[in-house]
Structures are given as structure tokens and as C-alpha cells.
């Protein structure tokens, strides 16, 4: 046991030197250098309130799921951070640091007029349609989980999706509808008076995906009942 602890100690000693940038209920996120490159490290720590065996299983499954979804997105040409290294003993994922990026949330908050944002929300709708066509459900779509990389050309918007921690694979319009519903809730509450902007996002989503009509139909259903499906009857 003592031996396995000393073997496990490499990553924790490294993380001690790293800069903690965020702490959530599920994981801690750090910034550091790995093989000479800037990286972001997501560490899923042990939850002491869970049974150790259950905890290990859940944490492992979420780590692999996150990595799988990122790879699936990248394969389809959807921007997501490159995975450099995964440590399944300490449940750490080493990801490419998207340098000089701003979150879409901060970008929208600092924009003067909503007109500037139309191209952006259209791009978001397009990327999400592409992601759903690959049957990737993000699970936690918010404007904080989308990064904008400022580029030289104005025409081309460089959008990167991050935090696939709650993602899974599903082809069901229901799951895609809920994914959009979660975004709608988050979008309208963090950015007040943006209903027309979000409508534009949905319009662009519909135009970009072949399977969108079923999803939008589900979204209307979900709006009436909320995220959870009624199990009565």
C-alpha cells in the first residue's frame, strides 16, 4: 500500500506547483506546463461522501467519457481541446490550453450592441448542430463552456467547446432537445433580453442539421414540462 502511494505521488506533487484556476463540485482545474507546452489539467478528486468503490467507478467512467466525446468531436472537425495525456490512477486529464481565448459569456457581456453578436450565435447554432449530428450530447451547454479565439480575420469565428464532463453519446431527439433547453435556460438567465438572439441561434441550428426538426419539436415539448421527463402513467 505504501508503495502504491509513493507511485501515485507524481501527479499530486506536480499539481502542487500548478496554478489552480477553478474548483467545482466534480473536479479541480489547473494551469501548468507539460512537455514544454501550456496545458489545462482537470483533476477529478475523490469524493469522500461516496462509497470508495462507487466513487472509483463513477470517476473512472466520467473521465473516459469526457475523453471519448472530445475525440469524437475533433474527428468530426468540431473544435475541442486536444488531449495530451490521461492518468487513470489519479483521474487527471491533460488538455491543450486554449491561449488568448475569452469565454462566450464574457464576450457577450462586454459587447455593446446585440448586432455584433448575430454572427457569433449563428456560428454557435451551426457548431451545436454539427455536434448533435455526431450524436454527442454535451450535457452542460452554457456560454461559459464555449471559448472564442480572437483571430485576424473577422469573417471566420473560431469557437471551441470545452468541459465535456457531463457528455454522453445518444441519437435520441429527446436528449438533444434537453441539451438545447439547458442552453436556453443558461443563455437567457446569464444574458438578459437576448430572446431574439437565442431565436437566431436556434434558426441557425435548424438550418445546419438534417435531423433538427425532431429536435426542435422535442425542445418545445421540454419547454412545457421542464428538463425531467414525467414518469407518471
Amino acid at each position: 500500500m505504501a508503495q502504491s502511494n509513493s507511485l501515485k505521488a507524481c501527479v499530486p506533487a506536480y499539481l502542487k506547483e500548478a496554478q489552480l484556476i477553478k474548483q467545482g463540485a466534480e473536479a479541480r482545474v489547473y494551469r501548468a506546463t507539460f512537455l514544454g507546452r501550456p496545458v489545462v489539467i482537470k483533476e477529478r478528486f475523490t469524493k469522500l461522501y461516496r462509497h470508495p468503490e462507487v466513487d472509483e467507478k463513477l470517476t473512472r467512467r466520467r473521465t473516459t467519457q469526457e475523453v471519448r466525446s472530445i475525440l469524437r468531436c475533433r474527428r468530426a472537425g468540431i473544435n475541442a481541446p486536444v488531449v495530451y495525456f490521461v492518468d487513470y490512477t489519479t483521474h487527471c486529464i491533460f488538455l491543450e490550453d486554449i491561449v488568448h481565448s475569452v469565454s462566450v459569456r464574457d464576450h457577450i457581456a462586454s459587447a455593446q450592441t446585440p448586432q455584433h453578436l448575430q454572427a457569433l450565435v449563428e456560428k454557435i447554432g451551426e457548431v451545436l448542430a454539427q455536434m448533435h449530428d455526431e450524436d454527442v450530447i454535451h450535457g452542460d451547454l452554457t456560454t461559459s463552456n464555449m471559448l472564442l479565439v480572437p483571430g485576424a480575420e473577422h469573417q471566420h469565428i473560431h469557437l471551441v467547446l470545452i468541459d465535456f464532463g457531463l457528455s454522453y453519446i445518444s441519437a435520441l431527439p429527446e436528449d438533444k432537445g434537453v441539451d438545447l433547453y439547458v442552453l436556453e435556460k443558461a443563455f437567457l438567465s446569464t444574458h438578459p433580453k437576448t430572446e431574439t438572439l437565442f431565436e437566431r441561434l436556434l434558426k441557425s441550428y435548424s438550418a445546419s442539421s438534417k435531423k433538427s426538426s425532431a429536435v426542435i419539436k422535442k425542445l418545445d415539448e421540454v419547454r412545457l414540462r421542464g428538463r425531467k421527463r414525467s414518469m407518471v402513467g
Binding site: L35, R68, L71, N79, V82, V83
Partner: protein, 175 residues
Amino acid sequence: MQLTQDLELFPEYTVTQLLFKDVKNATELRKMAVNGEIKGALINPSMVVDAFQILVATNKAVHLHKIGKMKTRSLYSEIIFNLSPTNNISEAFKRFGVSDSDCAVHIVLVHNKEENLNVDDIISKVDGQQIPVDQVSDLMDAAKIKKLYKVAPQEEKCGSLLDAVVCRMATKDVA
């Protein structure tokens, strides 16, 4: 000429890479690596996009070595295995290891920081011309790499070939 990089996760280790072209004794070198005369991994440079790709494979090999979960017998064979997108060990050696007909060799050495590495000893064993490691991308066979790693054109829209290759290497045990 050679490229040296510390492994941040394993501060006691350092990785040194050397690149040679016009090599005439690939067969001999391969034999020396097999019987332990050369303590290093001999890699076919046509499969290497960038030195970073080798570092990712090496870091993973050292990690698995430390936790006792290597799939192959030695640290150096594990580096070669980690480069491959599949879990077939002999295929990994065939594609990523140096073969007798090769005329270029990429050598990877893992050593302790304090340990005085005798690079000249290795250089003297190679009958070829040493070139800077960052020229490895000039020797790569991009078409072969794309085919083996199954990189579709659409993926290169969201990143470089190196990104695509590294991402697959890092995730091959779960994807």
C-alpha cells in the same frame, strides 16, 4: 542538434532525442537495441510528425512503467507501442520501429538528470549524418500517417495533423 526535454511529471527523468539521415547500418543498430547495447528506442522517422509526438509517447511510457502497467517488456518498446493507434504490439514495431531497410533513424533516450549521458557513444555507433531533431517533419510520410491514424480531411479543419495524432495516442486505451 539533439533535443532534450525534462518530464515535468517525473522530475528525475530527462528525454533526449537524436535524428540521423543517410544511415547505412540500420540492421546493426536494431540488433544493438535488441540486445541492450543501445539503451534507447529506435524509431522510423517517416512516422513522426513532430518531436512532441515522441515526448507524449515517452511520458506515457514512463508513467505506465512507474505504476507497473506497461503492455510491453521494456520502457523503450513501450514508447514505440504508445506511438501506434492500435493495440497490436508486433504491428506497432513493424510500423514505428526502425527496419533493416531504413536509411533514417530517430533515437529516443530516457535517462536520469544527474546521470551523465554518453551521447557521443551512441552517435559513434550510427553510420550516418546527424541532423537537428526539428527536421523530423521533413522526413515524415504524411499520407501514410493520415491513413494509419485514420485522420479525415475534416479533422484537419480544427487542428494540425500533430494534434490529431497526439489525441489518438493519448486516448487509445479508451476510444
